[in-house]
Each structure stands twice: as structure tokens, then as C-alpha cells.
Symmetry: C2
Amino acid sequence: MPRTFRYQIMDIIKKRWSPQAYSQELIARDDILALVEAASFAPSCRNGQPWRFLIADEPDTLEKMRQVLSPSNQRWANQAPVLILIAARKTFADSGEINEWHEFDTGTAWGFLALEAQQRGIITHAMGGFDPDKAIELFNISDLYEIITVVAVGRYGDKSKLIKKLQEREFPKSRKSVEELLL
Amino acid sequence: MPRTFRYQIMDIIKKRWSPQAYSQELIARDDILALVEAASFAPSCRNGQPWRFLIADEPDTLEKMRQVLSPSNQRWANQAPVLILIAARKTFADSGEINEWHEFDTGTAWGFLALEAQQRGIITHAMGGFDPDKAIELFNISDLYEIITVVAVGRYGDKSKLIKKLQEREFPKSRKSVEELLL
């Protein structure tokens, strides 16, 4: 079902979706860091900024990050020139207390990152199918952090190169109506 | 410390912050629903769309929602013409499985909501200081949902009406550098 919009919401939000057809065209390091800077200006509880990013954009790191992905994600996400692992610091740095909002706030930062990417003609697709323990082991990540997702980052490629099952799902997905979201 | 920007990131992201000086000017219902629609186009794990919103924008509901806030938040947030409680569905609706990304995905939706608000000249401030059990009781919220935050929504008001301690903190907060966010 195609997307429909009832209100005049921001174009950048209307147009963003999570494709799987990535081009192998490289992304400039400055573009990648701009995505992180955009993410950094998300709001967070007590300005705790729990979000952290592990950027894989050169052959060795990319190769390791691909190993972290589930086989079904590897099929398409291996084409992406950049993979970014997103993690969240579980405690406040100042007090050491548990930050109950670390996942929520990191989600906000990811939203800012995704929209900044869209603005730059860069596509993103966050994956839940990956092995966090493998990521921790391969990248030696401290247990201060919770590993949340790995995001494919790149430019749109050739849809016809996807396997048939993925080609059929390669379109912006619709959403629940506003009414369905109200408590 | 004022905000500084190294990259040309989206203006809407640069300009958004979380003020506490709210005007009592009402917000049109269509504006509020547009914020929810913008939020609805966030990406989510398996398009599960776990985000839910409880809008308090008329006297009875507002009065109840104010009771949910901590006394220190009531001091300023009672001025806001709209309070929106954000909750997250803890399980996938189709399978009933726990959705490990329900907080993260709901954070992404909140980010989209905050930026759509900024685009409309509407300010937002998410609060962690509130009593979720009181919200559950007063609004009879199902235990399918986790209560995450209450957001003040409105237009910018008169900073001089804030108590002195809040006036001193009434500016856009700076952020960690990009380097500090990289694992």
C-alpha cells in the first residue's frame, strides 16, 4: 500500500524510507561525520547524550562489521559502502546512575541522523538482525554500552540486483493512521 | 557554552532546543495531529510502529496530565497549552513477541515529532520527571505499553516569567564533539 499523508508534514520526513538497494559508491568521511553531528543535537534526558557510533567505512572495519550481520541482512547490506553500529551508554556519566532513557534518547539521535542523511541524498536502513555479542568481541566494545542496531548507509543503487523477494519489498512502507496511534 | 557546528547540518536540527518558557497560546488540533503524523513515518523494527501518544489539549485532560508531572516540572510546564504523553508498545502486535527496540524506535518517532514541531514554530520539551504509575492510573493505560515521557508542546513565551534558576538555564545547550561520540 503506498504512503498517504493527511497533513503538510516535512518533505524530508515524507521522502525518507529504508531501502535495500545500495550502490557501492563511496561516501565522503565529512558526510558521515555530518550525520553524527546532526545526531548529536538530539534532545536527551539531562543532556546525557547516551548515543555512540562505530563507523565502518574502510575495508578492514567493513569486513568485520559485515560479519556481525545476520546472513539475510548480509545479502543486501554487504553492498553498502558504510555500516554504522549504534550503541547507547547505559548509565549517566556524571552520577553513574542507570539512565532509563538511554535507548529512547539514542533512538531520537538515530532519527536525526536518518533525516540528515536524507537531506544529503544518502539512504539509511537500520537492522535488528545482527549479533551484538560478536560486535562486542570483534570491536572490543565496553559493557558500559548497549549495542542497539547496525545501520547501512550509502546511495541508492540498482534495485534489479536485489534477489526477487527483496525487490518485491523495495518500496516505502505505509503507516498506521494517526487515530491508531492515540491512547 | 553556545552551540557550535562543524558541518552544514539541517537548519531545523541546529535551531531546535528544549525551552521552558511557554506561551499559553493555544495550538490548533490539526497542528498537533500533524506532529503525530510526522512521528508515524519514523522507521521501526519490522515496521512495528510501537509509538503511542496521549494528547492533553483540553482543560480536563490537561489538568490530569499536569498532576502526573513532578513538582519541579509543573512549575514551568503547567504553562504549556499541550502535554503529550509518549508510550511504547512492548510487544509486536502480530507475533506477541517482546520488541527489544520498542524504546529505541519510539525515540526515533519522538525525534521526528520534535523536528516537525520546530518546522511549525512549535517548541517541545520532553520530561523524565513524572510519575508513570499515576499516568497509568489516571488515564487507564494498558500494560501493553511502557510510559516513556511527557512532552510540553506550545509556542515560545516570556522568559522573564520563569523563576530565576530556570531563566539562567534558558538557552540551547551545547553537545559533545563528534569525536567523543565515536566508539
